[in-house]
Amino acid sequence: MRFLSTLKFRTKLNLGICCILVVMAVLLLTLVGNMSAKLLIEENKKRGSALAQSLAARAVEPILAQDFLRLKNMVDEQVAMGDVVYVFVQNNRGHVLAHTFQKGFPLDLVKANGVADGDTVHIQLLANGAERIYDFASPVRVGVDRLGTVRVGLSKTRINASVHRQLTTMAGLFAGALFLTTIMGTLFARQVTRRLATLREHAEAMLMGNLDTQSGPDVGTHCWERMKCGLKSCPAYGDTRRRCWYIAGTLCPDCGDTKIGDRQSSCQLCRVYRESAGDELQDLAETFDVMAISLKTHIEELRSAERSLRDQERLMRTILDATPDRVSLVDTTMRYQGANLSFAASVGMELSELKGKTDFDLFEETVAEERHMAARDILQSGRRLDTQLRVVEESVERWYHVVCIPVYEEDGRIGGLLRTDRDITDLKGYEKQLIQAQKMESLGMLAGGVAHEINTPLGIILGYSQLLQEDVKEGSQIHQDLGIIEKQAKVCKKIVADLLGFSRQTDSAKREMCFNNSVMEAVSLVRHTFKLDRVEIVTELDDRFPVIYGDPEKLKQVWINLLNNSRDAMLRRGGAIVIRTRLDSPSGIVSLWVADTGEGIPADKLGKIFDPFYSTKPVGRGTGLGLSVSFGIIEDHGGQIMATSPVPASFNFPLSAEGEERGPGTLFEVDLPLDHADTGENTKANKPETGVTGNE
C-alpha cells in the first residue's frame, strides 16, 4: 500500500486499467474460451451429426444400387473439408463398403462406435494417440429397414486448434485494447497531471509568497462582453482574473440575490456559466485562483494593519521611553512582559532581556519581596495602588510616586499590572525649601518689626548717654562708663540697622554710580586693617569703568561684607583676596568676583550660607546676617549672588596672590544689571531662590 501511494498518478491509472484489462482478459479468455470451446464442440457435434445423417440419406441410393464409385466419391468429397478425418460406409452386416483411408482400413474403427436402429446418430470420442476424434455413426435407413451405417470422424484436435486460434485472436484483441487504453490512459493522465502540476507549482509559488499566479485557463469571453450589460458598477465588470460566479454582489439581472454558496447551483442555468464553466479540475484551478486573490487581499490588509500597529507601537514606545518615569507591565504570574527604557536602565538591563523576568531577578530580595507582595495584593483585590515611596540608593535618599493599576482583559479578568515609578525627589526638595522659605519670611517680618520698635528707644539711650557725657568730666569713671554705654548702644543700633536692612525696611538711595569706584572705596577702607592680618587684596578691575544704577552705600556694604567674609575664612593664617570686575556689554551685566585662599565651605553647607542667622563663626564674632543682608541688597538691585567652593580652576587665580598656605578657597560672584528699568523698588527681601544659592 505504501508503494502504491508513492506511485505517480499516471502510473496508478495505467496500472489500474492494465489490472482491470488483464483480469478481464484472464476471466473472459477463460470463460469465453471454455464456452466457445464447448459451443464449438457442440456446433461441430451438430455439424458432424448433420453430415453423418446427410451422408446416410445420400448413401441409400448408392448402397441399393451397389454403386461403390458413387459411395467412394461421396465419402472422398467430405474429407476435402478441413476437419473431417475420415468417412466410411458400412452395410447392414458391418462390411465397409467405401472409406477414405489410403492403404488399408483401420479395423479398430469398425467396432469403436455404433448406432442403434432407433437412433439417428451416435457420437463417440476416440483417442488416436494424442489426437482426439469425434466419431459420428448414423444409420442408413429406408423406412424401418437398415441398409447400413455411415461413420464420420471429425478431429477434435482441430476443433481445439480453432478454439485456440479464437483465443489467440481474442488475446491479441485484448493486447491491442491494453495498448490502446494504456496510450489513452497516459494521454488522459498526462492532461490531468499537467494541470495538477500547474496547481502544485502555483501552490509552491504561493508558499514562496508569489500570489499573482493564474492556475485556471484564460477566462476568454468575459461575462460583461457576453451579456453586453455595460454595468460598470458591477464588481464582476472588468475583473479579468475571476469568473463572475465567484464574485459576490454581482448586478446581473440573471444572478438574483443568491449568495456565493448558492451561486454554483443557481448559475447552472446561466448562459455565461454554461459556456465558460469547465470540468472539476478547472473548477479547482479557478477556485485556487480566487483563493490566491482573496489571500493576497487579506495579506495586504494584514500588512497594512501590521504596519499601522508597528507605527503605533513605535509611537507608544517613544512616548514611554521619553518619560523619565519607570513604567513596567507584569502578567498574572508576576513575570515582566514589557517596560520602558527608564525602567530597564534602573535595573541595569537591556529592554530585550527583561521579558519573562521576575522581581527577584531584577531587585534585591527585600525590595523584590515588597514589590511582589504589593502586586499580589492588587491582583487579588483589583484596587489601584497610589503611594509615595522613599528609597535610599547608595546612601542618597530618593522619593518615588508609585502608581500600580490592574490591566483588564476583554473578558473582565485581570491580565496583568501596570506600574509607574515617578522620581519626585526634586519635588520633595522644593517642598522642603518652600516650607523653610515661608518660615524665614515670617522670621524676617518679625525681626523687622522688633528692630523698628527697638530703634527709637536705642536712639534715646544713645542720645542721653552722649548728653550725659557732656555733663561729666572727661576721663572720669562716669565718663568712661557712659562711653561704654554709648559704644554698646551703637552696636545695638548697628544690629537693628542690619535687621531693618535685611527686611528692607530702610530706604534706598539709588543713583548713577561708578561700579569700580564703589569697589575701590570699600577696598581702601579695609586694606590697612587686612594687612595687619597678613591678608593681601589684589584688584583686577575692568578698565572700562562701568556705570550702574544703584545705592553706593549699600553696595559698598556688600563689598565690605564679602571682603570680611573672605578675611574670616583665612582663620588668621593670612592669605590673598582677589577682586575682579568685568563688564559684559552684550548681556548688559557687570560682574564682580571675590575669591580667597581660605578654608572654603563644605558642599552641604553652601546652600545655607545666605540664610539669616546662619554662621560658622564662633559666638560673638558674627551675627549671621552679613550674607543675608548682602543677598537682600543685590536682589534689590535686580542682580544675583552665588558662591562656589572650592575656587574653580577656570577662575585663573593669579600666582602672585597665592600664599604659602593656600586653602581651597571660596568664590563669590555678583551679577548686576547695567539697565535699571526692571529693578523694582518694591521688591521684597525674600529667601534666596534655588538658582542663586550657590552650586552643587
Binding site: 464442440i41 441409400v60 465397409v96 482400413f105 479395423l107 463417440q124 476416440l126 488416436n128
Partner: protein, 320 residues
C-alpha cells in the same frame, strides 16, 4: 464468501478477506476452463490398417424393378412384397437396383436380373432377349392396365388442349418409358403431332426418380409440358401443391406392368414365385398392405400376347 460471513474486526483483515474472495472467484473461473473434457474415450489406432476382405456375395434370385422411380422408392415399394415372397417360396430373393432402363434391360440380358418388373414397352425389349412374361399387376384403380398423362402448369394460358402442345418444350421420362413417353407419343401421333413438331424434346436426367423429375421440371417452368405415368402425381404430392399442375390429357389404357423371368430361369422358381404372387389376397389386410406398398391392387397371371397393343403402338410409331 469469507468477507460476507466472517466478522472481520478491522480494515486490514477486511482487505485480506476481499482479496482472498477475489482469488477464490478467479480460481473457480479458471477451474471451469478445465471442465468438459470428461467424455468417455475409446482408444483406436488409425495406423493399424488392414486390407478389407470383399464380402462373399450371397447366392440369390435377383429381383429388379424398372427404375422409373428412385431406388429408395423402388426399395420401399417392393420391400414388403419381396419379404412375403421369400417367406412364401422359401427362395433367397434379393432386390437389386439398376440405375437406368438400358442397364435394366442389359442386366436381364446378361442374366443378372432373374425376375424383372417392368413397363410393357421395356418388356417388349426384354422379350426380345428371351424374357418371358408370367404375371402382371392390377392398378390400384382395379384395372390391369394403365395410362400416360400429359401435364402442364395450371397457370399456363397457352396450352388448353393437345393441339396447343405443338411447338412447345416437352420433357418426357425416358425414351424407354411407357406411360411417360411411349403412350403420350402415341397420343400426340393420333392428334397429328410428331416429334419434330415440338420446340424441344428432353428426357428427365437419371438415374432413378425420373417420373418425379418430369413433374418438378414442369412445375419449375423449365418445360411447357411433361408426360408421366398416371399415378405419379400422387407420389410427388408431398413435394408440390397438386393444384399447380394441370392434367392436359390422358392416353388410352394399355396393359399394365409385367413380371417377366429371364431366359433360363428355373421354371420351378417361376412357378413358385408366380403362385405366391397370385396367392396375394387384396381382401387380406396384411397382404393388401403389401400390394398397396407396391402400387398394385393384385397380381394376376400374364402371357406375352397380352402386350400386343403395345407392340402395335411401337411399330406404328416406328420405334426400336
Amino acid at each position: 464468501m469469507v468477507a460476507a460471513t466472517g466478522k472481520v474486526g478491522n480494515g486490514w483483515m477486511g482487505r485480506i478477506a476481499r482479496w482472498a474472495g477475489m482469488v477464490l472467484l478467479l480460481a473457480a473461473a479458471l477451474s471451469c476452463a478445465g471442465c468438459g473434457d470428461d467424455e468417455p474415450v475409446v482408444k483406436v489406432d488409425l495406423n493399424k490398417r488392414e486390407r478389407l476382405m470383399a464380402p462373399k456375395p450371397l447366392e440369390a434370385i435377383t429381383y429388379a424393378y424398372l427404375p422409373q422411380y428412385s431406388h429408395t422408392i423402388s426399395f420401399q415399394r417392393h420391400r414388403a412384397l419381396l419379404k412375403y415372397l421369400r417367406t412364401a417360396t422359401g427362395l433367397p430373393l434379393r432386390q437389386i437396383f439398376p440405375d437406368t432402363f438400358d442397364e435394366h434391360i442389359k442386366m436381364v440380358q446378361r442374366g443378372e436380373i432373374d425376375i424383372s418388373y417392368s413397363n410393357p414397352f421395356v418388356y417388349l425389349q426384354l422379350a426380345k432377349v428371351g424374357a418371358t412374361a408370367f404375371a402382371r399387376s392390377v392398378e390400384p384403380s382395379g384395372k390391369p392396365d394403365f395410362r400416360g398423362q400429359v401435364i402442364c402448369r395450371s397457370d399456363n394460358p397457352t396450352i388448353k388442349s393437345i393441339a396447343d402442345c405443338k411447338g412447345k418444350r416437352w420433357i418426357a421420362v425416358d425414351p424407354g418409358s411407357a406411360g411417360g413417353y411411349l403412350f403420350p407419343l402415341g397420343l400426340f401421333y393420333d392428334h397429328g403431332i410428331h416429334l419434330h413438331d415440338f420446340a424441344e424434346v428432353d428426357f428427365a436426367p437419371g438415374p432413378g426418380g425420373k417420373q418425379e423429375k418430369v413433374v418438378l421440371a414442369v412445375h419449375a417452368g423449365a418445360y411447357d409440358i411433361g408426360t408421366i405415368r398416371k399415378g405419379t402425381l400422387d407420389v410427388v404430392a408431398q413435394k408440390i401443391h397438386r393444384d399447380d399442375i394441370r392434367i392436359l390429357a390422358e392416353t388410352r389404357p394399355y396393359p399394365g406392368w409385367v413380371y417377366s423371368a429371364r431366359q433360363g430361369l428355373d421354371p420351378e422358381v417361376i412357378r413358385a414365385v408366380a403362385s405366391a404372387m397370385f396367392a396375394l389376397d387384396p381382401d387380406n389386410p396384411d397382404q393388401a398392405a403389401i400390394l398397396g406398398a407396391a402400387g398394385m391392387r393384385r397380381i394376376i397371371p400374364a402371357r406375352d400376347e397380352d402386350y400386343e397393343p403395345v407392340r402395335e403402338l411401337v411399330e406404328k410409331l416406328g420405334i426400336q
